[in-house]
């Protein structure tokens, strides 16, 4: 019914003028963003693109967002609605005002997400809002890693007028900036958002002048309506069913200071033209800063849906119209005030991955293979020294807080090709990482390497793209510090598709104490380029601080090793062509050990694959998958096989002509696993591989892994159907039913 009403309303709109207006609006937003990026002091904004200009109707519904960081666009709708609610009467919302807001319980992810929002007036009436938002990594408070309440996380603004009736308020500006460690940096960022809003508001006024307020308003409604309709159309094309995902992370237990695993679970129910995302079952909120507020969770849901499912829709609030989201209060995804949430973007990444996993599998079932990607966010482990720095650089300026090489992580494998190595990050699909030469002009580091992380992409028939690894020397600071978290012994944010592994096993995060003779050895034209090389070559030793402190000093000359996330794999690794594996080994993307252990490809002395040894090793792997499995023999049914939907690289649902019910069957060998009403994993051959065995190595601090890899293979042909991270401490012995298709 709503669609019919929309059609009548939009019939009044001249399609040509509408199109011109829509493009003009987008262009204004881009002009605003360009201004913001050029004025800002944040490297992550200027070069990483972590910002957004967007437009809203008089009530705060998003009409259009431009390119940039999607989290902000989604969040600002909430912020505007709350500002109207709180301040419309007192002190009033007037022409020429601009509000500044950064309360993550209202909008955004953490206090560093700062939004500036300006109403647009036409003939004395408020007709729209423009917003410019970006990431400013300094709000005073405790440095990263130490907060346990939002009060520790610095200034929290619930909507102050930074500009009032067109006059920039120096009293507000001075009061806000001087709560921060680097007032000039924060001040420059405030100015950059004001500059962008000025561009956007002036452009919007021109639109009103040219098209008339009624037309602009109707066009805004249509933009929302269009994306709602297109979203429903997309959903209709997907078979009905329930898709489930589970993503793990770890947090620091405030009492024991040890790493504790937690989970994000998502059930995506697609029925007709609607989608429900239910996060019930996700772990409870945590007594440190690793929580997500509800606005942050919603914003990250929006990122995943926009990137994976609704990429070709106009970026307006309409696309969320057919989507319902359930997030239990008190969970890590909907923390209760005043829980700290500085690391909320990390939790947000898990939300993005959890939703992406469901959506990718849904798209496969809908036949949209080109848009299917495995995970973009898999770390073999997290913990150790992070990338949020304190102290000063050699110019005496405060160190820019974050170093966001994670914006160049590896991307997931697809049914059609391997994942892109060092391809980006979901928050800002068009973002990137900085040149090392530029970093070294600002940060107290001397890089010894930035290279693709060996074994950084997840194995699969199609492999995930590798992220990067780096080894740097602390160089030119008297007081450098870095955040530190306990090593969490299981893959974080990781998932693969249809037998592809959830994560690669490469990468080291550690602090290394240099040997005494490093300076002398450098003079001989030598240095290590990975943490392993540094240790093996006697350059340095891994140093683990006792007691897992929140932050730790980094002495001049010490080394820091880090790596970024890789992509998940697609399909069974032992089905990958052996010459492709050999080439990966030659290019240094995959180690010989991984090639043999996981891909089953054995190289001869020259590195070329040895066909006989490879065949033997692969047979051995398949055998091991089936070992101990007593396949339940299901009556295969009789008559012609009538497939209904192929929902998995190796599995499909259908029925035998003469049988009553639908069953799940292996595409490769025809083995019938179970009735469609049952979880195929329960009827597959299951084995569990300890993570230490998978990686062939332990954690940097010598600690134990807490998870394992659960493999599910077809009892008929041993093709790998799923490779899941399993962590019984959190989830019990549960075979996650990832695709449930009703008949």
């Amino acid at each position: 019914m709503t669609a019919a009403v929309g059609s009548i309303a939009e019939a009044a709109i001249d399609p040509i003028r509408f199109e011109i207006l829509a493009h003009r609006l987008w262009a204004i937003g881009e002009e605003g963003r360009i201004a913001l990026q050029r004025v800002t002091a944040s490297p992550i904004v200027a070069q990483g693109g972590e910002c957004m200009c967007s437009f809203y109707d008089a009530n705060g519904n998003m009409i259009l967002a431009c390119s940039g960081h999607l989290r902000f666009a989604a969040a600002t709708s909430d912020a505007i609605k709350r500002i109207i609610d709180w301040f419309a009467d007192d002190p009033g919302i007037n022409e020429g005002d601009e509000f500044i807001l950064n309360d993550p319980y209202v909008a955004g992810s953490h206090t560093y997400d700062i939004m500036q929002i300006a109403p647009v007036f036409w003939n004395g009436e408020r007709v729209a809002w423009v917003a410019s938002s970006s990431h400013t990594a300094d709000t005073g408070g405790l440095l990263r890693g130490a907060a346990t309440e939002i009060y520790h996380e610095g200034i929290r603004l619930l909507g102050l007028k930074i500009v009032e009736a067109g006059v920039f308020r120096d009293d507000v500006f001075k009061t806000v900036t001087e709560q921060c460690r680097d007032p000039e940096y924060v001040g420059m960022d405030i100015k950059s958002r004001t500059a962008a809003n000025n561009v956007c508001r002036a452009g919007y006024l021109e639109l009103l002048h040219r098209f008339g307020a009624d037309f602009v308003e109707a066009a805004g409604r249509r933009l929302i309506d269009d994306s709602s309709r297109m979203a429903r159309e997309k959903l209709t094309a997907i078979p009905d069913g329930i898709w489930r995902s589970r993503i793990y992370g770890t947090y620091r237990d405030p009492n024991t200071r040890a790493a504790v695993p937690y989970q994000i679970v998502c059930a995506a129910t697609k029925a007709g033209d609607e989608l429900t995302l239910d996060f019930t079952g996700s772990s409870g909120q945590i007594d440190n800063d690793q929580n997500s507020t509800l606005p942050s969770t919603m914003a990250h849901v929006m990122i995943a849906l926009t990137n994976r499912l609704f990429w070709d829709l106009p970026w307006s609030d309409g696309k969320l119209d057919p989507v319902r989201v359930i997030v239990p209060e008190g969970s890590v995804l909907n923390c209760r005030f005043p829980a700290a949430c500085g690391r909320s973007p990390r939790v947000g990444q898990y939300v993005v991955e959890a939703v992406s996993q469901c959506v990718s599998s849904m798209l496969f079932a809908a036949g949209e293979r080109a848009d299917v990607n495995a995970g973009w966010g898999s770390f073999w482990y997290l913990g150790g020294p992070g990338y949020f720095y304190g102290g000063h650089n050699s110019h005496g300026l405060p160190n820019p807080q974050g170093l966001y090489d994670t914006h160049g992580g590896g991307l997931g494998a697809t049914p059609l090709r391997d994942g892109v190595p060092s391809g980006g990050q979901q928050n800002i699909p068009s973002g990137g990482i900085s040149d090392i030469e530029r970093i070294e002009l600002q940060y107290p580091f001397l890089y010894l390497s930035r290279s693709h992380n060996v074994d950084g992409g997840a194995p699969g028939a199609r492999t995930g793209g590798a992220g990067t690894q780096r080894l740097v020397i602390a160089y030119g600071s008297d007081d450098l510090t870095v955040d530190f978290t306990p090593y969490g012994g299981l893959p974080h944010g990781a998932w693969g598709l249809f037998g592809g592994h959830p994560t690669g096993t490469g990468g080291t995060r550690s602090l290394l104490a240099p040997a005494a003779d490093v300076a002398a050895r450098l003079q001989h034209g030598d240095y290590p380029v990975t943490a392993d090389e540094a240790v093996a070559g006697g350059w340095a030793e891994v140093s683990v601080p006792s007691g897992n402190p929140g932050r730790m000093p980094v002495t001049e000359g010490w080394l820091l090793a880090d790596f970024t996330q890789g992509g998940g794999g697609y399909g069974d690794p032992v089905e990958r062509a052996e010459d492709l594996v050999a080439e990966d080994v030659r290019r240094g993307v995959v180690s010989a050990g991984q090639a043999e252990r996981i891909f089953g490809v054995v190289g001869d002395a020259s590195g070329s694959p040895d066909p006989a040894a490879t065949a033997a090793r692969r047979a051995e792997i398949r055998q091991a998958r089936l070992a101990g499995k007593d396949p339940d023999v299901l009556e295969p049914g009789s008559g012609e096989w009538v497939p209904r939907v192929r929902f998995h690289e190796s599995l499909e649902v259908g029925r035998f002509e003469l049988a009553a019910g639908e069953v799940v069957r292996c595409v490769k060998c025809g083995h019938v696993l179970c009735d469609v009403s049952q979880n195929y994993k329960v009827h597959a051959a299951r084995r569990v591989i300890p993570l230490a065995e998978l990686a062939g190595r332990g954690l940097p601090d010598g600690g134990e892994y807490v998870g394992a890899l659960a493999e599910y293979a077809c009892p008929g042909c041993a093709v790998l159907l799923a490779a899941d991270i399993s962590c019984p401490d959190v989830s019990g012995e549960d075979d996650l039913w990832d695709v449930q298709l009703g008949s």
Binding site: P15, E19, A27, N307, G424, E437, R438, L448, R450, Y475
Partner: protein, 697 residues
């Protein structure tokens, strides 16, 4: 009788045509075209020369002998990059950073893609690299950001690296790029010497990143070194072939190459990669000359072709260089004139979305094959050209001077089926809609570029060129409040003409890391060093005169990571100007971003210096064109064309027969073989003595 006429010839090899403009010592200008021959570009050039000789009734040998200077812009480098067909290149780089050109700062995945494609995040992949990972060799060496040697170069490894690349990998070109070589180039030069020593006899092309750029940013600088090596042999081969053919015909003049910086260099000393975008750069130089003679302070150039729409901006005759321009999806670090493009041209396709019934125009293009529906070559989707035909702006029988006839019926059918019926509009309304939408998109790009340069659209003169530019220009001008449109007489060969008129130009940009208060002595030393280098380069190019230097600085507030460039109004710094440069910058900044944006309290820094060294080549002002006709004789019937919602009887003129000094009020259409100028009602077109048309909106 013409025995003494001497020529300067400008050549612009474009994707489809090789354009030629010849200028006599007296300033007489003539132009012609020949099809481009991508397998061997020199053939197209020789064809164009032969055609020019034929027009003048002289032999090719005669023409070549009378040519003093042949100035050549080409797409050889661009073509090699686009097709990924180039030299077998090896790269020697700092150990630990071998993956830099594959990591591509991650942003390489989306570089060079239109916004519509970028959004399809699960689908978009990185471009194919110019060389495989196996041909990258790292050697231990390290220079820090301040230029101090932290790790001396390991020459033993260099020897092995060179041998491996040459002997095992069989490379014919080696690129060298080390971290912070923009600051200290010693280690890169060591490698060059060692290649010379080891394989001096093998004619290996060597490309050092520090020779090509002195700016910080290793990804784009390394790409540039690699791309220079990749295209180098192809560019050299082309120039050698051309040079040999000219010599065989008795050519004794100078053969110069156009660079993307907007000026010339000698064929022996131009970096091959510097020739990227040399054609459009010629156009910008031509526009700069024209703005000088027409006294236009700010100019926006708009070039509308078949698939792309290119916009450039001139302020006081000065252009900016692009920050890390992207070619064939790869970021470069070269002084290349900042010209921005979107996919919008005659071939751009209009569609209606089946779900929302939204009409979109572009960015997809019908290209040359099958082309617009009206070409009747298999294209069924409506394009901008189809709409221009239906709207009466194009003459179906006089397209490309009548060499191609257009099918109105095909165009109408494509529009009716794909647009008019789904939208419930008439064919004419739909075509007018496409026209308005594409114009609006192009206006959005023009506006963005003008504003980005700190100028005001309404104050700019609009120079329109390209086949379709003068059909659409009035719409852009009206949208942006511009009052003057200039369509040069040479508009169909605007780049070739600009190249024919251009000077020697060497450009250097260098990263600085100075914080206020600035040291005038240090700044002067930097200027001295750059100007000395540039003067030497000009001398090597064969320029014997006194170079003119133009100086620019890029500054920023202390914590900002990007800055703005402004011209420096003095030659050298002293105690006073080292301070007042800051005030100058704050003023400049306010003009760009508005009064509240500057934040002096944060302090100022200087991040880049740019020096352009011009070596002027004598040229005559263009000759007057005398058309011995009256305006009535220039009339060529009339047809119905669409203006303001109606089809209106519109007088058509043959543009080349319009006498100088004529003013024509719209509605009118001025046609020549390669240009159609639409003069809308309420506007008027004046033709000057050079055949340029100025439309007053």
């Amino acid at each position: 009788m013409t025995g003494d006429v001497r020529y300067t010839i400008g050549i612009d090899i474009g994707g489809t045509f090789t354009d030629l403009t010849m200028v006599t010592e007296q300033g007489a200008v003539q132009s012609t075209k020949a099809p481009t021959t991508p397998d061997d570009f020199s053939i197209g050039v020789m064809d164009a020369l032969a055609e020019a000789a034929r027009i003048n009734g002289i032999s090719l040998e005669e023409l070549v002998r009378r040519t003093d200077v042949l100035k050549n812009g080409s797409t050889v480098a661009t073509n090699a990059l686009l097709t990924r067909r180039g030299a077998r290149v090896g790269l020697i780089t700092t150990r630990g950073f071998e993956d830099t050109i594959f990591i591509m700062r991650a942003v390489g995945r989306v570089d060079g893609l239109p916004a519509e494609e970028v959004r399809r995040v699960a689908y978009v992949d990185k471009p194919e690299p110019l060389l495989p990972r196996e041909r990258v060799v790292g050697v231990h060496e390290r220079i820090d950001a301040q230029g101090r040697v932290v790790v001396p170069i390991n020459t033993g490894e260099v020897t092995v690296a060179i041998r491996r690349l040459v002997e095992d990998e069989g490379v014919d070109a080696i690129a060298v790029s080390f971290l912070h070589s923009w600051r200290v180039a010693d280690h890169e030069q060591v490698v060059r010497r060692m290649i010379d020593e080891q394989y001096g006899d093998r004619n290996i092309f060597v490309s050092l990143s520090s020779d090509l750029s002195r700016e910080a940013g290793e990804y784009a600088r390394t790409n540039t070194a690699v791309a220079n090596a990749f295209v180098g042999p192809a560019v050299h081969r082309y120039l050698e072939r051309l040079s040999a053919q000219l010599s065989a015909l008795g050519f004794s003049g100078r053969l110069l190459v156009m660079q993307g910086n907007g000026g010339l260099a000698s064929i022996d000393h131009a970096a091959p990669i510097s020739t990227l975008q040399s054609g459009p750069a010629g156009g910008m130089f031509g526009a700069a000359l024209m703005s000088d003679s027409m006294k236009h302070r700010t100019v926006v150039t708009a070039d509308m072709g078949g698939t792309s729409f290119d916009v450039g901006v001139l302020s006081d005759g000065v252009w900016k260089y692009a920050d890390e321009p992207i070619f064939a999806r790869l970021r470069m670090m070269q002084p290349i004139i900042d010209i921005r493009s979107i996919g919008a041209g005659g071939g751009t396709i209009a569609r209606v979305d089946p779900i929302t019934t939204r009409m979109s125009v572009g960015p997809d293009s019908a290209g040359a094959q099958p082309g617009p529906a009206c070409y009747d070559a298999g294209g069924t989707e409506p394009t901008v050209t189809d709409c221009n035909l239906v709207l009466g702006y194009l003459d179906p029988d006089f397209f490309l001077g009548g060499r191609k006839s257009l099918s109105v019926e095909r165009a109408e059918r494509a529009i009716r089926t794909n647009l008019a019926d789904p939208l419930g509009l008439s064919v004419l309304e739909s075509a007018a809609g496409v026209f308005d939408i594409i114009n609006s998109k192009m206006s959005d790009l023009i506006r963005r570029e003008v504003v980005r340069n700190g100028e005001v659209p309404a104050e700019c003169a609009l120079y329109a060129f390209g086949g379709a530019g003068a059909i659409h220009a009035t719409s852009w001008a009206r949208e942006l409040g511009m009052s003057r449109i200039v369509i040069a007489n040479t508009s169909p060969v605007f780049s070739a003409h600009g190249i024919a008129m251009s000077d020697f130009l060497r450009t250097r940009l260098a990263t600085l890391t100075y914080v206020a208060p600035f040291d005038p002595a240090q700044l002067n030393r930097d200027l001295d060093a750059l100007e000395n280098d540039l003067a030497m380069e000009l001398a090597k190019d064969g320029f014997n005169g006194t170079p003119q230097f133009k100086r620019y600085v890029t500054m920023h507030f202390l914590r900002q990571t990007t800055g703005e460039e402004m011209p420096l109004p003095w030659e050298r710094f002293d105690g006073e100007t080292a301070g007042s440069v800051g005030e100058l910058y704050v003023e400049h900044y306010r003009r760009l971003y508005g009064p509240g944006a500057a934040y002096e309290k944060s302090g100022l820094a200087m991040s880049r210096i740019r020096v352009d060294a011009v070596g002027s080549i004598d040229r005559r002002a263009a000759d007057h064109t005398v058309v011995p006709t009256t305006l009535d004789e220039a009339r060529h019937g009339s047809r119905r064309a669409h203006f303001d919602g109606d089809l209106v009887d519109t007088v058509v003129y043959r543009k080349d027969r319009i006498p100088a000094g004529s003013t024509i009020s719209g509605p009118a259409i001025l046609e020549s073989e390669l240009t159609t100028i639409v003069v809308a009602p309420g506007t008027s077109a004046a033709v000057d003595s050079l055949g340029n048309v100025v439309v007053t909106v």
